[in-house]
Symmetry: C2
Subunit: 464 residues, 2 copies
């Protein structure tokens, strides 16, 4: 009789662990509490806990009770792939930066400071929409999204040399969602996907959700390394290549016309689809070649958003591709998010068509160029070298002396309220231990360089 009760408790706890009501590391109910809850004697619970501990499923910690031992069955993203150090875990850096309070300094984050953004432009757009037709305020979006915005985007995309009509444009809720929809359309688990090494760190996080194999192609100062790219195509039969067009994140390099041409020739001889993420388009000073322009939107899918230059709060992205794919992607969009956020699309349309946006962009580019110069000077004082001097944009990709561990430096700086972006967070190969990405617009507070200087000093002492 007693055995049955003990088994019952064991089964109960086992099930809670299995279904994750109790997670690894979490505390079990106290013996007394569980006895009360299940209306069983304390000795029954004690015996059940002891047996579970003997099985290694739970652990006793002196004076603080019983805890679930890890790990459990795979499910979460970090468990799908080998666990990585939190300080270079892309998701952790994203969440840290997104959660940061106003007084935290964020040279490691990927966006402009609050007070650099075009608030009046957005306010005006929002006020305009507050007077719009009823249907704009409450109706679901049409499947492809706001026709006027798609019309405008088609003209903007045409200006980059990419031939497109509005019906080849699908609005999404963000640039990230645009990539995600394309991944859902083309990828199945274990497919091989090429990314630049280094690349925007959320590409890694996103691809992990799709459970694919990621191959990093070294990014040179003119684009991806063509030899490695060709070899990867030959050896792995990859399905997708995700890259930035225009200004590359994190390096600030720009694809040259001849590299673009060579990349496309290799793509044509393969099964590759290319996603070209054009998120930094509006920060360019000279329009770099677009793969989608050369390719005529045949295998290259062009995506973008305005999170960096207009608002990260009013979110709308887009996909430009051939009509057949737009059709299928629209179905996936409706199935997984029903409609898009039409209000955001309306606000973006109003903001983009206001003449103020162009003026703001001109000023922003000048401001960024100045910030880049002053940041470079500050970094030089600390003996930090640029990998390349970027044409424009937000980022400086910097190399510290060979022995440095920028993840450790980032950890030290975080304790002082400064969030950095260490090199390996951007890297599949993990070959960028001594690199850091700086956002020049977020480097305008001299405290950053004081904290950084101390952290580097400490790092030198530690590594000696």
């Amino acid at each position: 009789m007693k055995t049955t009760k003990i088994d019952f408790v064991i089964q109960h706890i086992n099930e809670q662990i299995k279904n994750r009501s109790l997670m690894p590391g979490s505390r079990l109910p106290s013996v007394r509490a569980l006895a009360g809850l299940l209306n069983l004697s304390i000795s029954t619970i004690v015996e059940a806990y002891e047996r579970l501990a003997a099985q290694g499923l739970i652990e006793a910690k002196t004076g603080s009770g019983f805890f679930v031992a890890g790990p459990i069955a795979p499910l979460s993203i970090s468990e799908i792939h080998p666990k990585i150090d939190r300080s270079i875990d892309p998701l952790w850096i994203s969440r840290q930066a997104l959660e940061a309070k106003q007084d935290i300094l964020k040279p490691g984050c990927g966006w402009l400071p609050d007070d650099w953004m075009p608030h009046e432009n957005i306010r005006k757009a929002i006020r305009k929409i507050s007077k719009a037709n009823n249907s704009i305020l409450t109706d679901y979006s049409t499947p492809l999204g706001l026709p006027a915005l798609r019309e405008l985007l088609s003209r903007r995309i045409l200006a980059k040399g990419i031939e497109v009509v509005p019906n080849q444009i699908l609005l999404t809720d963000s640039g990230t969602q645009a990539i995600d929809l394309i991944c859902r359309y083309f990828l199945k688990p274990n497919d091989v996907v090429l990314v630049d090494d280094p690349c925007y760190f959320n590409f890694h996080a996103l691809l992990k959700v799709h459970q694919v194999q990621i191959i990093g192609i070294p990014y040179t100062q003119t684009g991806p390394d063509l030899t490695v790219f060709a070899d990867a195509i030959k050896n792995y039969n990859p399905r997708l290549y995700i890259t930035n067009s225009g200004i590359h994140n994190p390096t600030g390099a720009v694809l040259t016309a001849s590299t673009a041409y060579q990349v496309l020739k290799l793509v044509e001889q393969s099964n590759l689809i290319v996603i070209e993420d054009d998120i930094f388009a509006d920060l360019e000073r000279h329009t770099a070649p677009r793969l989608a322009a050369l390719d005529g939107l045949s295998r290259v899918i062009h995506i973008g958003s305005f999170s960096k230059t207009l608002s990260g709060s009013v979110r709308t992205g887009y996909i430009a591709t051939k009509p057949e794919w737009i059709e299928d992607l629209t179905d996936i969009k409706i199935a997984t998010s029903f409609g898009g956020n039409n209000l955001s699309a309306e606000i973006l349309f109003a903001a983009l068509t206001d003449s103020h946006y162009r003026k703001y962009l001109e000023e922003l580019k000048i401001r960024l160029a100045k910030a880049m110069d002053s940041t470079i000077k500050q970094l030089e004082k600390l003996g930090i070298n640029l990998w390349i001097k970027p044409q424009a944009g937000l980022f400086l990709w910097c190399k510290l002396p060979e022995h440095s561990d920028t993840a450790r430096i980032a950890q030290t700086c975080l304790e002082q309220g400064v969030i950095l972006a260490p090199g390996n967070a951007f890297s599949q190969s993990q070959n960028f231990k001594n690199f850091i990405r700086f956002n020049v617009a977020q480097c305008q507070d001299s405290r950053i360089f004081e904290v950084l200087s101390h952290a580097i000093q400490q790092e030198i002492e530690q590594s000696e």
Copy 2:
């Protein structure tokens, strides 16, 4: 020279058919209108239409113009699974309703008419946000989403008897995205998922994207059929059960307390996680039991949105579940959409905290009750019977005589500009060939019943 112009028109129409600007069965612009629009002669358009008709792409109907011939190319999602008749294809119905022009009547769609929605409430909220702090207008959202809205939602969810704190709530861009994130977390291809039969049709479309096996559990007037539910658990080891709480879509039935209790007991003995979609919560007149309340958010995940009662344009949904799962779901959200739409969250918060919203809901419920009564009377005149008289909500689930084919009736009505929702669009078993769902708020135009009456008459003649 003339040939080129004709070819141009042919290509123009072809493209519109291909990209679904013109759907199968829809009417082409009149010859005169298109001639004016394209600045071409009437004879050019006539010749182009004639050639398209000759190719079988369009059809002339005497006295009423040209119509697009159906069907069109199948989609990728429908290719993943066996092809289904377009007229009961959930995605097709969604897209059709979303694309419908203002003058199309939509008794088959799932939302309130434009002029029933609380525009002044939303306008006021938008005006308020246009004066908000800069950071609200341009910053990315925090990982979980606007704290004030999560606080408010936790109180609203508590009022339904579900114990929850704000950190157990994750904001999403829609109720559909909420379900999609949970599916990404728990499901892998070929897992078995239980849904109600019938259920909200987009559940099928969403689950097809996840490439899982769908098992329909017959929905009775008190909830899912418990015997079939128990058998399905025993035979298929399902991972997930997706259902509505409160008013069930499409049936309008409500889960009783005793069925809820029995469902939970079965769930506890299984590997099931339950998603309870509470999207119609604000339309209830008496609060039905919530599975999440009984279960204490252990295995039941509570999700919802305000698309039905506030706006389908300002999109924000939520997930309420245990803290560990919130953590992992947040990682997946950031990886696949980076941040949420913070502006929408701010607008919803402002709209929900305005006293007007409660008043509007009270009036809405009265208006819906009246619309329900009048719709029932109209349907009775046509000999259409209710499967159940719902307590509240938008929908009437109606049974036509055994031999009727509501997909065929829907096709006939569509040609007359009336979009219906035939029963099998909601059904995994395809046992609802003679059922239709009516949205009472969209049934206030008597033309619907005239068109429906003729279509039923035609159906009787055809089936005799």
